[in-house]
Amino acid sequence: MVDLETDVAGLHLWNPTMLASGFLDETGGSLLRVYREGAGAVVTKSIGPEAREGYPNPTIVELDVGMLNAVGLPNPGISEYEREVKLALKGGAIVVGSVYGKDPPEYARVAASMASYGVQAIELNLSCPHAKGLGTEIAQSEEAVQEFTRAVKDAVHVPVFSKLSPNVSDIAAFGKAAERGGADGIVAINTVKAMTVSPELKMPVLANKYGGLSGPAIRPIGVKAVYDLYEAVDVPVVGVGGIETGRDALEYIMAGASAVQVRTGIVARGTGVFESIKKEIASLLEEVGLASVTEAVGVAHD
């Protein structure tokens, strides 16, 4: 029997798959459903201080290479969200609360409320690539990543994970900045800035014109980011980007990820994707002669 358990900075997971922030995580009902269908933990939609409607549609475009979205951080606001988080926690889910804000005090305030609802960890969305004034600028500045992480770290007593953008020249430097800010873990990568144009209509398809690309197309970008971060930082890394199968997950794990997050994979394989990935990880680990996920973490490094 292959051991699928893993640990991310004290967050104990029965299996290394997590629901990534952004899909099926605006309501407690959906969070709980995904957890019950096999995810080791679920990450909430990024929640801010106030309700936000997001952008007009089209906000999501299916492409042959993946999925492009500019949803624009819709969320009911941290007060309203209490009901959703508590519904998921009451059902037994392990919940990571994703938060955003406009400045360090706002991040800290939202994170403190989120933590008070009982979430087991906090994830900082430092890198939404398409919401102006909310994350984009932070993601481009090492100092900001450090400062924002520090503010949240000082405000909560649960592990804090900083989620980084791939839209930078050297993601490892940003990982080190988050680590200096006290991050207990690094999550990489957020979506890659992208656009699609309809030749027939002679215009970008997204109402916001550009957005973030996810899905299989960005997996090699994510694997490289995790590989670099694993060498650069001492805290655990969580890999995300284009994971649809156990094989994809193991690419990330062997590159250095202690756990993985899945999002667009749900489109291809449904919410059963978590259970499938678990089985595939177990059988592939057995095939290559590894007894546990923890043994596989980082083995791709010399």
Binding site: L24, E26, S30, N57, E62, E80, S198, V205
Partner: protein, 258 residues
Amino acid sequence: MIKTHIVPLLDVVRETHDTTTYRFRADIGGEPGQFVMVWIPRQDELPMALSYLGPVKGVTVRVYGDATEAFTSFRPGQRIGIRGPYGNSFRLEGERVLAVAGGVGMASLIAPIEAFSHQGARVTTALGARSAKDLLFVDRAQSAGEVHVATDDGSRGFHGFVPSLSDRLMDRHTFDQVVTCGPERMMKLVVDSALKRNLKVHASVERYMKCGIGICDACALDDRLVCADGPVFSGEALAASEDFGRWRRDKSGRRIPV
């Protein structure tokens, strides 16, 4: 390459004073009750039930905001984006069907009414609207079976709400199955009434949607998604639902009364 079909409109037909049908050719299949995401360029992308199946498809929409208002100015030849069809469909279960439609809910029910009739079922339609001028697809429903009309103002047919009319029909006739689409509180009355009579009942539920493909969570109904698990739900599922007839989500995900 995007998976959205960009298609020219073939025709634009004014059905009532505030409701219009847009027809287009798209080789995408489609079952009665399924919906497509319709991209109205520079406006919005909205879920709309297929009111015509077959090679030339159609959607029928009432003006309820800026995008649907702007859509009425579109002319044949202008292009729109279509993705889908998405969601599940109405399935015929028996030989005698009662279809209960309220207002523009008829846009979702007309395809199943016609399909069930073609499959040999005897279809009775109870069609409700505010006033005679709001009645939709009366002729198409009459070609598919018997039609009973209810109007809130009594300007045509039964004077009152359509659930009262459908209750009478359920009392007087035998049906194997009830299908319904319309305002949610209306559907709730129809569902409860059918369940009380031990009738199989299915309702097509409407919610705000962003993605249409089961990921954005905007259309959550309890722990189900209207786009992927619905839009058609069984009466039993709806009777057990905490949200149906009571709660929906606004664009930010806040839980608000239906």
